[in-house]
């Protein structure tokens, strides 16, 4: 269980994280979501004690990370930036970390196999691809068989097979009762893996919710209507919002599909298609974080 309270980080005048508070519970995959520069990595680094908060604090199972007697068995972490000596082999990298806790050699071999690195374990990390580097980072995170797993952008640089592997791994870790916190700036990825979502923007909490809930509250659904008398239908639905996709195709917000259907039937408007559309999670995320995107593209 991870708990953050009033977590704040300032660098000079710049506030990177502001009064962030949340709880990450065991047994579920929690997505930590936000645009680039939202403060995700800084927050994770504060949880791990690598960065000191300007204010507030974070605890793992009730006490600060650094206060644990066997930190690697409580939390395993994959950080965003590569944290490996390129001249050391994957095996020796993991063994060096394992020695600090007296973790046996067999466990090192086990996590190497789990990450699919057995074949390259004795090779120097220098020659690893981005994806292999991520796999090594994940092997290191699992080294202590930790109750809490924190992964910062784990799918970065992974091929489709690797992405699928991460998804399955995250779900199985959560199913084993572990606390799993995964950061990403890709909503679509989180939609497939996360049960719970913590969304931040410009260092502030925007939402602490479930995936379904986020979709439901983000501006509601719309209905796609195809009719040869589209413009007449528009005049029959006062107060509704319309997006004209084609001369005969409308996307209607406001009234739901049954209401549009009833209105059309009552006035003899033929309908060729009447399709309720749920907003994609991506759209929900964009709507939520629109005002807090740090680097916004200007129109050309």
């Amino acid at each position: 269980m991870i708990r953050a309270e009033n977590l704040t980080k300032r660098y000079g005048d710049t506030t990177v994280v502001q009064d962030l508070g949340f709880t990450v519970r065991p047994g579920a995959v929690t997505g930590f979501l936000g645009p680039n520069g939202a403060g995700k990595s800084t927050t994770l680094r504060m949880i791990l004690g690598l960065d000191a908060p300007t204010r507030g604090h974070a605890t793992i199972d009730g006490i600060p990370y650094a206060a644990h007697t066997a930190p690697l068995t409580r939390v395993g972490a994959l950080l965003e930036a590569r944290s490996v000596h390129p001249g050391r082999s994957a095996y020796h990298h993991l063994m060096a970390l394992a020695h600090t806790h007296g973790i046996p050699h067999a466990r090192v071999e086990r996590v190497l196999a789990l990450a699919g690195l057995t074949g390259v374990a004795r090779k120097r990390v220098k020659g690893f691809s981005l994806g292999m580097g991520q796999r090594l980072g994940i092997a290191a995170a699992l080294l202590g068989d930790p109750a809490t797993v924190i992964l910062d952008e784990p799918v970065n640089g992974l091929d489709p097979e690797g992405v699928l592997w991460i998804r399955t791994l995250l779900k199985s870790l959560a199913a084993e009762g572990r606390t799993v916190l995964v950061s990403s700036h890709l909503m679509s990825e989180m939609a497939l893996t996360a049960d719970h979502l913590i969304v931040i923007g410009k260092g502030r909490l925007l939402a602490d919710t479930t995936v379904d809930e986020l979709v439901r509250t983000s501006g509601g659904a719309s209905v796609k209507v195809v009719s040869p008398e589209a413009s007449r239908l528009r005049s029959l639905l006062p107060g509704a919002g319309f997006t004209v996709e084609a001369p005969d195709t409308l996307v209607v917000t406001g009234p739901d599909a049954p209401e549009i259907g009833r209105t059309a039937a009552a006035h003899g408007v033929p309908l060729h298609e009447l399709t309720p559309q749920a907003p994609s999670l991506e759209q929900a995320f964009m709507a939520l974080t629109h005002d807090s995107v740090e680097y916004q593209g200007a129109p050309a």
């Binding site: 690598l50 990370y65 930190p71 490996v84 050391r88 060096a96 970390l97 600090t100 806790h101 202590g144």
Partner: protein, 256 residues
């Protein structure tokens, strides 16, 4: 199987493992040993009794190469600490040992033991090899002669403590080129420049600067204008200790 948990001994074991699983350790250690031995053989082979070097201490003469070799070992010290910041390894190290300071102490301990052992054994070998050439000159000496063994050990201690100083600079500056620059400039060159100043008090103070103190430790006969070996060892020890206390204090406070 014992329960996994952090202990100081295990952190030490981890740093030992780290030290010997990168090539730079082998490169710097073997370079230092080769320089010490090579220069020693050169000094021995080219020595003549009437060449004007008769007043040079035998151990100092044989171990001239330790100044060059010492630089290679200082670079190793810097790589051990600042190198982890360059590669990002420090984030993994300090996540595994979040109390942080034990990592620095373990690095210093592992480095000290390794560098002293290598320096002492190579210096012994170099002295004995040089004596093969020097035995029929006025520089003939044996290990049992007064002060010889102490000077060989002193030379190794000097090289080691200068290296610890470099290791501390690396941990403080967190940059390999920065720390090498600071070591060469601040520790090796600045005292030479200060020595040119015409002040008596400066000369006395300089005796206790790291390189001068290390020099005094490595002579079997008392050097003119140098500190006594005991005082030199104490001074050098304090320099090295200060160079570790500063980054230990900073390590607690700085973000990684």
């Amino acid at each position: 199987m014992t329960t996994p948990a952090l202990t100081h001994a295990r952190v030490l074991r981890s740093e030992w493992h780290k030290l010997w699983t990168v090539r730079s350790t082998w490169t710097t250690v073997l370079t230092a040993a080769a320089l010490l031995l090579g220069v020693g053989i050169l000094m021995g082979a080219t020595y003549t009794s009437d060449g004007g070097d008769s007043d040079v201490d035998t151990v100092v003469l044989s171990l001239y190469g330790s100044q060059l070799g010492g630089i290679a070992l200082a670079v190793l010290g810097i790589l051990v600490t600042a190198g982890e910041y360059a590669t990002g390894m420090i984030r993994a190290s300090l996540t595994a040992v979040p109390r942080r300071a034990p990592v620095l102490w373990a690095k210093a301990a592992v480095y000290t033991a390794t560098v002293f052992a290598v320096s002492f054994l190579t210096a012994l070998l170099t002295f004995l090899t040089a004596q093969v050439f020097l035995s029929d000159t006025d520089q003939a000496a044996s290990l049992t002669d007064d002060g010889v063994l102490a000077a060989i050990a002193g030379n190794a201690a000097g090289v080691t403590l200068l290296g610890v100083l470099a290791l501390g600079l690396g941990a403080t500056l967190r940059s390999v080129p920065g720390a090498i620059g600071a070591f060469v400039g601040g520790v090796l060159i600045v005292p030479e420049i200060l020595g040119m100043l015409p002040y008596e008090a400066m000369d006395t103070a300089l005796r206790y600067f790291p390189t001068q103190a290390a020099g005094a430790l490595g002579s079997a006969t008392p050097l003119a204008g140098a500190a006594a070996p005991g005082a030199a060892l104490l001074a050098l020890f304090l320099w090295a200790a200060a160079a570790l206390v500063v980054p230990a204090w900073l390590l607690r406070r700085r973000d990684v």
